[in-house]
């Protein structure tokens, strides 16, 4: 019990909440790295997935990109980015973005495919043209699964951002890495706890957002777990 109490003491020590290595700054760095990667990834992945899904093209690619993405070793990608582009946030964000893209492509593709064909036909019959149909009919129905993809990506990016500390990045991973180097295990444990909490908070808040964005009519259809197009863990 004493070890855990020491960790609690580390977390409540006011010195650890100040300065460039303090919890608020490290947390902010971690969130910033993750958010930028997910945003950039979404900017690339969502249009691709949505368009592929809408037109029903390259389905195998869209679905299997997640399989490949899941197989990419995240640690290796970070190191490759470091060796190719040097130190700094940009290489880290590039690596994280690469990992963020696959689940969002697959989920948005599947989301668009799963829109009922009857609904699409009805829309066409009502006079909707291509773009309008996509934006005003299909996308709202696809939102839950698209959000699920964003959520999956976000949680994985937060997890992988922990590794950024190994290539001199900031973020909560610093406590784990620096703590190991100086054998201050309370620091390691505290860092791990903060990272785990952040990951859980990301998952829960985006799940709530997903629920909020789901059109009310769909909310009552409790999609079984198998409907979640991909489960994705890279770190």
């Amino acid at each position: 019990m004493t070890f855990l109490m020491q960790c609690a003491r580390w977390l409540t020590d006011p010195a650890h909440w100040q300065g460039p290595d303090g919890i608020p700054i490290r947390l902010a760095q971690h969130v910033q790295l993750s958010a930028e990667a997910v945003a950039l990834g979404a900017l690339i992945a969502l249009p691709i997935g949505i368009l592929l899904g809408h037109f029903g093209r390259f389905g195998n690619l869209a679905i299997n990109i997640s399989n490949v993405g899941r197989a990419i070793p995240s640690f290796a990608i970070l190191v490759i980015a470091f060796q190719a582009f040097g130190l700094g946030d940009t290489p880290i964000i590039l690596a994280l973005t690469a990992l963020a893209i696959p689940p969002m492509v697959t989920n948005s593709y599947v989301a668009l495919r799963e829109v009922d064909a009857d609904i699409k036909e009805a829309a066409r019959g009502m006079g909707y043209r291509e773009l309008a149909q996509l934006v005003r009919v299909e996308l709202p129905l696809a939102v839950p699964l698209i959000m699920a993809g964003i959520r999956t990506s976000a949680v994985q990016v937060v997890a992988t951002a922990t590794l950024a500390a190994i290539v001199a990045g900031g973020g909560l991973g610093r406590y784990i890495v620096d703590g190991f180097a100086t054998q201050i295990y309370t620091k390691v444990f505290a860092g791990a706890l903060l990272v785990a909490l952040l990951a859980l908070a990301t998952e829960l808040s985006l799940a709530a957002l997903q629920r909020a964005l789901t059109p009310r009519g769909l909310r009552s259809l409790n999609a079984p777990a198998s409907r979640r197009a991909t489960s994705f863990k890279t770190a």
Partner: protein, 218 residues
Amino acid sequence: MPSDPWINWDWLGTHIPLVLAALQQHVLLTGIAVSAGLVIALPLGIVAHRWPVMRNPVLTVTGILYTIPSLALFAFLVPYTGLSFLTAEIGLTSYTLLILARNVVVGLESVPPDILDAADGMGYRPFARLIYVELPLALPAIMAGIRVATVTTIGLITITALIGIGGLGQLINKGLIESFHTPLVVATVLCIALALVADLTLAGVQRLVVPWSRGVRA
């Protein structure tokens, strides 16, 4: 510093034993984690299915474990289980639990009620019904889960190098410390290749075992 090709084929040619040893350890770690995960997740999923009140707790707990970043999970374990094979395997196995348990549950839930009725009508006791009727019909979903769990684990093992356990992650570390591209690139390519080969192999096994189903997504 002289420029470094991304793959130095000479180095690769003279270091095949090193690479193969890393690959072998990687496969071993994967096999143990997924097998252990199955041994735990199968009964867990059956329980969650049989007693619906357990469904949410089981999926929630395994889900929380799954969400914890791997470096953090290893960091939690190290003060108690040390920088050891056990620590790595505990972490890796935990991550397979959500995928496998969830797929066991979903698989069992997908068995049509008519078939269950028919089985009852034929005189199957609950346990026998589970073994001879429900599980075989749940097999496609379970196999799909095993595939995802395997590919995921292969990717995660590279991180165990940070707590000193082997596998292809060792080569990544070597590449980082020595500012050397080749072991890094080799490890990345092999990791992806290993995952894809494993996935295809398991898909083949799935086709053999449950030929009536195709393409069930995890």
